[in-house]
């Protein structure tokens, strides 16, 4: 093992070495490492190139706030870009690669962008390429996008499974650090159901990196004991590796549990991640705080890192983050980092502190470790390019930032920086008022809650460990008590080494003399201090404008380390206090959430529930080419050996007109309407009259929306004085039901009518063709099918092999036709029985395409024409609408806009040169395909018609009825189709209806 791994210490299991690769080179680490700590232990510090300037970057942090150390994890279908190396638990065989570099991380050609730095400031691309003409942007965009960016996602389908679950609890504690554990223990002591969720693999938070003792134990032992005690509480659920990312209404929170991300491949039967919807009585936000960087030139050089993160590498991972280092800090607690690093063998060259007089406790720590303190000094710049080698410091005035003496250079390969702490207010901001600036700690703390939460510990701006423990215990108990539980008094906590992190507002860019590298604010999006100044100069001074103009805080890390420094710089430019500048609003997600976790198991054929007709399996087993129609699958046609789809549907349609065919119409919506007022109700619901429909008859009805446009159509059958069976289109079954319920519940509550959806209770077929009657004679008893006994639109009840059937003589195809309904369980039997009875007549099953052919030949309307924009009159059905009664949509039918003669009206189209006419084509007058062309309307349906022996369709054309006989073109520029057509009457076949009345 390399010299960066300490000989002992850390929470890694040295008996469990793990092998991994980074950019193809093989390394080893230990169980308990993160990818970042293992790389650091191997002396690897350069891990990526930056977003815009391709600058070399290393690890800034050791946790979820990491902006720089983003790597691509895994390969093939599981390749995942932009994972934070600091949050990736090491596993054996892990494969990681660096991002945004070519040809290699060490030598990156695009790093030349650094030389063009002044050109690439905020807004550069847009000013340069979008200003003159839009075409310039279109020409350059590809190359710009190629040059900027981070990792690339895989294009292969995700092979892993994801799960979703709901959970309820009394108290949810977000964050399993000191405050969170104390809160959970206190709440659990009352018997309340408690969940502790933490995004880290291991609970404990800062306790895992404390050097001091708590209650006489090491902080780690204290945490372990606490966690073990919680784990035995029956009402407590501990959820490590679970990031709570969103806080929603009614105290519902979204979280993602990483179940198998720390393993090479999810174990059999386990999902990779599980999405949790957590409903909590109260929430304790113990989300901790993020250490704040300081903005100075070269502050992104590999080797510059957050101070407490450096300590984390030492104490938690047993890794030396540098050989010789400088601490640059603005508060006392950070001095512990210098002491602990020195104890681990890091040569601490100096502590640089801009405060003229650091606290006594801090000085004592420095003295104990023998580290020189340079009070009243600041770091002017960090130099070294791919690896830090020099820290330039100078005396400075804390008030003005002015340099007050000569610079001196310190050789160092580590620079540990702490500008204080920023409470992690993301969730609090999502579910509360704007964060409030607290001058005492120089940080934004959560605003007023709008949901049932309390902030505890560092999230609330309480930084000392003892105070965090006490705060957590108090608020955990209070949360339980508020819900009616009685928490036991919390224990006392005795903490050693308890310096507070109270800081000063020192986030400003020091003003160096001479040439200096860039000073970064947002390392992930390459936003510099000069960009913030530029935004100010150009008038983008509100925080929302600053964010969008510079993209500060808009990267995958959402500005965890950059927001406050950016705001402070803007405040300085505006010569205002930062409290006047304010923050942008935090929105979910707090941390990136994979789409897979949101989709859960609702993918592929689980995307929505599948509805199946009772004859579904028969269709599939007999050549049915199934296509989704809403939630149903329906056969387009039954393909026979070697047939194309077109050949199949043309054969089927022709066979129906020549003999007889059978089609499954079980998917039609069916509503049972009963009650003494049912007739009146239907008369109000349909545009045409229903009051006088006799028992034993069906009627085709038009249903309008209240605004006068067509809503749905279908037949309704009067089964008895007080019972009707209404049918709707397949697509509108649900909306029609809700529409009817709405009017009964709200508009006409006095009506004595009951509704029930019976779509799934009935299996239904249509049998059509000249021989249809003969087939029914053979199969169904108790019904006289003669034309006199069962005329067109007649309804009769009978039996088929002892089961009740309803038969209605209806025709969508224009042929002699009947619909036959039977209990759903007997649907398949009926289907087979009718096919058997029809065998002597050459019966065939037909699918949706032939159904469409037959109705287009007749000019009957369907979904393409009932598109929510058409009226009854548009479709040539205007005469059906009653003028004698009130009905839904009746008043608005008369408004001027619906009577305009420029409205689109239904016509037929017939191809003049034997070419198909694609549905969706526009009708134009131009003989050549030209763009743009004025559209007279569009084709709603197309088929090849064997009865007419032509390619035909239906179309909605402006003032169409008056244009019948005109010759135009159906154009479909996307496919280059341009077909001469004649506008004709929409009924192509048997216009007098002799066949269906026969």
């Amino acid at each position: 093992m390399s010299s960066y791994r300490l000989p002992n210490g850390g929470l890694v299991d040295r008996s469990a070495p793990l092998s991994f690769t980074f950019d193809g080179a093989r390394y080893s680490g230990f169980e308990g490492d993160t990818l970042a700590s293992a790389l650091m232990a191997n002396g690897v510090r350069l891990v990526g190139r930056s977003f815009k300037y391709h600058r070399p970057r290393g690890m800034l942090s050791a946790g979820p706030e990491e902006p720089s150390a983003l790597v691509t994890l895994r390969t093939g279908a599981r390749r995942e870009p932009n994972t934070k190396a600091t949050m990736v638990p090491l596993y054996d065989g892990l494969v990681a690669t660096s991002q945004n570099r070519w040809p290699s991380l060490e030598f990156d050609i695009m790093a030349a962008n650094q030389l063009a730095g002044p050109l690439l400031s905020a807004g550069f691309y847009y000013k340069t390429f979008m200003g003159p003409t839009a075409k310039a942007w279109m020409a350059y965009e590809h190359f710009i996008r190629q040059a900027a960016g981070l990792g690339r996602a895989t294009h292969e389908p995700d092979p892993d499974r994801y799960d979703k679950a709901n959970v309820h609890c009394d108290v949810l504690v977000v964050g399993g650090g000191a405050a969170g554990l104390a809160a959970a223990s206190a709440a659990a002591s009352s018997g309340a159901r408690v969940i502790v969720a933490d995004e880290n693999a291991r609970l404990g938070g800062s306790l895992l990196t404390e050097a001091g003792r708590v209650n006489g134990q090491s902080a780690v032992a204290f945490a372990e004991q606490h966690i073990a005690a919680l784990a035995t509480e029956p009402g407590v659920t501990l959820m490590p590796r679970t990031a709570v990312y969103g806080y929603y209404d009614s105290n519902v929170l979204g979280a993602v549990e990483q179940i198998a991300d720390h393993l090479p491949v999810p174990p059999t039967g386990l999902p990779r991640q599980r999405h949790w919807t957590i409903t909590a009585g109260r929430v304790v936000l113990a989300t901790g705080a993020i250490e704040r960087p300081i903005v100075f030139p070269g502050n992104d050089t590999p080797g510059v890192m957050l101070a407490e993160s450096a300590r984390t590498y030492v104490i938690r991972y047993g890794v030396r983050p540098a050989a010789r280092a400088v601490l640059f800090a603005t508060h006392d607690a950070a001095y512990r980092v210098a002491r602990d690093a020195a104890r681990a063998g890091v040569e601490m060259a100096a502590i640089v502190d801009p405060r003229p007089a650091p606290g006594e406790g801090a000085k004592a720590l420095a003295d104990e470790a023998g580290i020189p303190v340079m009070a009243g000094h600041g770091v002017m710049k960090a130099l070294g390019g791919k690896a830090l080698n020099t820290v330039v410091v100078a005396p400075m005035d804390l008030g003005t930032g002015a340099v007050t003496g000569p610079e001196s250079a310190i050789a160092a390969d580590g620079l540990f920086v702490s500008g204080g702490w920023t409470p992690t207010v993301h969730l609090a901001s999502q579910a509360g008022g704007a964060p409030v600036w607290d001058g005492k700690i120089a940080a934004f703390v959560p605003g007023a809650p709008r949901q049932a939460w309390t902030d505890a510990g560092a999230c609330a701006g309480t930084f000392a460990l003892s105070a965090c423990l006490a705060d957590g215990a108090r608020l955990g108990a209070l949360s339980a008590d508020t819900l009616g539980f009685a928490a036991k008094p919390p224990p006392d906590y005795a903490v050693e080494d308890d310096l507070t992190s109270q800081s000063i507002a020192f986030v400003r860019k020091v003003k160096p003399t001479g040439r200096a590298p860039k000073a970064f604010v947002d390392l992930q999006h390459d936003v510099t201090a000069s960009d913030v100044a530029l935004a100010h100069r150009e008038g983008f001074q509100s925080v929302e404008h600053l964010k969008r103009y510079t993209t500060l805080g808009m990267a995958a890390d959402q500005g965890k380390t950059s927001n406050v420094t950016g705001l402070a710089l803007m405040a300085e430019a505006r010569r205002q206090d930062i409290s006047h500048v304010g923050t942008t609003r935090f929105r979910p997600p707090y941390t990136p959430v994979s789409l897979g976790a949101l989709a859960g198991f609702e993918t592929g054929h689980h995307f929505y529930p599948k509805r199946r007709s009772p004859m579904d399996l028969w269709h599939r087993e007999n050549g049915g080419d199934m296509t989704p129609v809403g939630l149903w699958d329906r056969p387009r046609a039954y393909l026979q050996d070697g047939e194309t789809m077109t050949e199949a549907y043309v054969r089927e349609a022709a066979a129906v007109r020549a003999g007889v065919g059978l089609v499954d119409v079980s998917t039609l919506g069916k509503i049972d309407v009963q009650g003494p007022d049912a007739a009146t109700f239907l008369d109000r619901v349909y545009a045409n009259g229903f009051a006088k429909l006799p028992v034993g008859k069906a009627r085709y009805g038009l249903m309008l929306r209240e605004d006068g446009l067509l809503f749905d159509d279908g037949t309704t059958w009067r089964l008895s004085e007080t019972q009707y069976l209404m049918t709707t289109t397949t697509a509108n079954a649900g909306p029609v039901m809700a529409h009817l319920e709405y009017h009964l519940d709200i508009v006409w509550p006095e009506m004595r009518v009951a509704l029930a959806s019976v779509t799934d209770q009935w299996a239904a077929v249509a049998i059509a063709g000249p021989q249809a009657r003969e087939v029914l004679w053979m199969a169904i008893d108790d019904i006289d099918f003669s034309n006199d006994a069962l005329p067109f639109m007649g309804v009769r009840q009978g039996t088929l092999d002892g089961e009740t059937v309803w038969v209605a003589r209806l025709s969508f195809s224009g042929e002699l036709a009947y619909e036959v309904y039977i209990g759903a369980h007997f649907g398949l039997h009926m289907w087979q029985r009718l096919l058997e009875a029809g065998q002597p007549f050459g019966i065939i099953p037909y699918g949706l395409e032939a159904l469409g052919t037959l109705r287009i030949e007749k000019g009957h309307v369907a979904g393409g024409e009932l598109d929510g924009r058409t009226t009854a009159d548009d479709l040539g059905l205007g005469r059906m609408a009653s003028t004698k009664k009130a009905y839904i949509g009746g008043h608005m039918t008369g408004r001027p806009g619906l009577a305009d003669d420029r409205r689109f009206q239904l016509v037929g189209v017939k191809a003049l040169d034997d070419q198909p006419v694609r549905a969706g084509s526009h009708i134009v007058v131009e003989a050549e395909l030209t763009e743009p062309a004025e559209s007279l309307g569009h084709v709603t349906a197309y088929t090849y018609s064997p009865a007419v022996n032509a390619h035909i369709g239906l179309a909605l054309v402006e003032n169409g009825r008056a244009r019948i006989g005109e010759r135009h073109f159906a154009t479909y520029p996307l496919k280059g189709h341009h077909v001469p057509v004649e506008l004709v009457d929409p009924c192509f076949f048997d216009p007098d209806g002799e066949r269906m009345h026969g």
């Binding site: 929603y248 519940d745 508009v747 509550p749 009746g890």
Partner: protein, 99 residues
């Protein structure tokens, strides 16, 4: 997020679909003028604060109900049945009678 269905008890909001302003009255088809119909069909207030609105318990009892929701906080403070399901002898009356 729970909606207290007066027929079923508190249920997940995902069982419901939204139906808009509950205070609208359908105009009298025999007498109302164009403006009344236009207001009923198209004009909607956008109130801030408590709002009476219709929700359809589509995946439950299928009844439309009147929910009082604060449009600012999304807090639901109550729900009652529509007129159709307000029988003169309500359930609570029956319960009182039984007791």
């Amino acid at each position: 997020m729970l909606i207290p269905c007066p027929h079923c008890g508190p249920r997940d909001s995902r069982e419901f679909t939204y139906g808009g302003d509950a205070t609208l009255q359908r105009p009298d088809p025999d007498g109302a003028d164009d403006k009344a119909w236009c207001d009923y069909i198209y004009a909607r207030a956008n109130p801030m604060g408590p709002h009476e609105e219709l929700w359809h318990h589509a995946q439950g009892c299928r009844a439309w109900i009147v929910v009082t929701r604060d449009t600012l906080t999304h807090e639901i403070t109550g729900a009652r049945p529509t007129a159709r399901w307000q029988d003169p002898s309500t359930d609570s009356d029956k319960k009182e009678a039984a007791e």
